[in-house]
Amino acid sequence: MTDAVPTSAIPRVPGVETLAPEGERTRPSADASLVFDNVSKRFPDGTVALTNVSFDVRPGEFVTVVGPSGCGKSTLLRIASGLTGASTGSVKVNHDSLGYVFQDPTLLQWRTVRRNVELLAELHGISKVERRKLAQDAIDLVGLTGFEDKYPKQLSGGMRMRASLARSLTLNPNVFLFDEPFGALDEITRERLNDELLALFQSAGFASLFITHSIYEAVFLSTRVIVMSGRPGRIVGDFQVPFGYPRSPDLRFEASFSELTGQVSHALRGAHS
């Protein structure tokens, strides 16, 4: 998927070619936690990753972006977090209150679970006593109690991801960015972690922007599912998920759930062809 799109494909003036996919809320809310305003991204090699992406994530919302691999979903998060800049358009978010869970656990191999979870507090100059407490609370919250002194290589993939999640939780962010965090895990572990993530989402009350290529995961977790097309990525579908929280693991087997995943899948296939 390296087909370079000519420069002219990206409108130079923001807002000229705004797509209006079904159900998109065109006006961003004033109190939104995260706003993408007409974001496009073109890499130096000419590859266009995103074109005219606009949406917002409000407090208490769990927004998931699904799309084929290579559609620029991860780029969306890198732009949101400031790791890379947008070519056109803008992003509004409070960087001091941003949690980022990467695709890989990115744990430091030479640190124990406890010291890994303490890392962010350490980088922000929080005192040793306080960060130890923050870390312990986060470790308890993700269910890693008893594994504090283990090194990453001694843990299973699911447990590493929990440690990574705990690390982001220590700073108690208002907005969480998840970059396919469970993509490398087996189905059963993934579903279990989905359930636990929802429990965290409900109790901690952060806004989430979650990236995945699993439609089931997207519908199960979210209040809203956004479908992106293949490269260059643009929004081709936008679904409100009507299910309330807490969500039972059995929701996955209900007819209304299947119907919605069917619709999302259809939108995704439409975008792909």
Binding site: G82, D104, Q109, W110, E122, H124, G143, A199
Partner: protein
């Protein structure tokens, strides 16, 4: 919240307690017999084979008048190590060479790491400096020896300089490789939290590089001993090291003592190699995959 996912993932038949137990315990040790075989029997057999071949050469292949080319092991031991005067002379030389090697290695570590850390900070610095590091490695040190003597005299100082020149490249190379080995994801994490250059260096790059850095120390430790002995051949002022003794014994055909000197200098090389391996294992053994398997 429990860890059922991991258990289920491993297989339905595994009991919860059992798996938790397994995860919290250290990995099972190799069987005693197998580790005895690996650690003791193999090296033991090879050692006696070597001694056997040595005797065979001394007594079967060499005529008595040519036996000085390879004196039998017991002669080497009795002449070089059980004769008080010879032993004192050898140990004294060994100690002087050890000093040269250790001072040289210490300087090589400090300079080499500083050089590598500097290069790790920006691509352009790396581009500008690395060619010189390679030149250090590729010029034949022997070609520089007269110049070093010319500039720094033919004493301890020059011996140390040769030692540094020989030992520094693996440290530069491995430290640089190590510092650049941290994952992009880990770097992103530090970037997201506005880590300063020094924070990144101390908390991410140096610890991530430790396995490679210690591998470099081990190689350089061995090279520093070679450097000290080579230096002795050329810079003969001051207290003689074991390299000078080797040269003297050669010219006087004192082959028992020559063999004794070779054995001692090999032992010195082995000991420093082993010491750095041990320190490296202590530092990174608990978390790094490969560390435990080496030495």
């Amino acid at each position: 919240m429990t860890d059922i996912d991991e258990r289920v993932a491993v297989g339905g038949s595994v009991g919860e307690e059992e798996l938790e137990h397994a995860l919290l315990q250290p990995p099972p040790r190799r069987s005693v017999w197998k580790s005895f075989l690996v650690e003791v029997i193999g090296p033991f057999i090879v050692f006696w084979l070597v001694i056997g071949v040595w005797y065979f050469i001394s007594y079967r292949l060499l005529k008595p008048h040519r036996r000085f080319l390879m004196p039998p092991p017991h002669r080497v031991i009795s002449v070089a190590f059980f004769d008080d005067r010879n032993r004192t002379e050898l140990l004294h030389g060994l100690w002087n060479s050890t000093k040269v090697a250790m001072v040289g290695l210490a300087i090589a570590i400090v300079l080499g790491m500083a050089f590598a850390i500097l290069m790790s900070q920006a691509k352009w610095i790396e581009r500008a400096l690395f060619p010189y590091a390679v030149v250090l490695q590729t010029i034949p040190i022997l070609a520089l020896v007269p110049l070093i003597g010319f500039w720094f005299d033919f004493n301890f100082r020059s011996r140390v300089i040769v030692c540094v020149l020989i030992a520094i490249f693996p440290i530069i190379n491995n430290t640089l490789f190590g510092l650049l080995s941290a994952d992009q994801g880990q770097h992103d994490l530090f970037t997201l939290h506005d880590a300063s250059r020094s924070t990144r260096l101390w908390r991410l790059q140096l610890p991530a590089g430790m396995p490679a850095i210690f591998a470099g120390f081990r190689i350089s430790a061995g090279l520093s001993v070679i450097g000290a002995i080579v230096g002795d051949f050329f810079f003969r002022q001051g207290e003689p090291g074991i390299g000078k003794l080797i040269d003297n014994y050669r010219s006087r055909l004192e082959s028992e003592k020559l063999f004794g000197a070779i054995i001692l200098s090999s032992l010195l090389g082995l000991v420093v190699f082993w010491v750095f391996g041990f320190i490296g294992n202590r530092v990174v053994g608990s978390w790094h995959e490969s560390a435990r398997k080496q030495s």
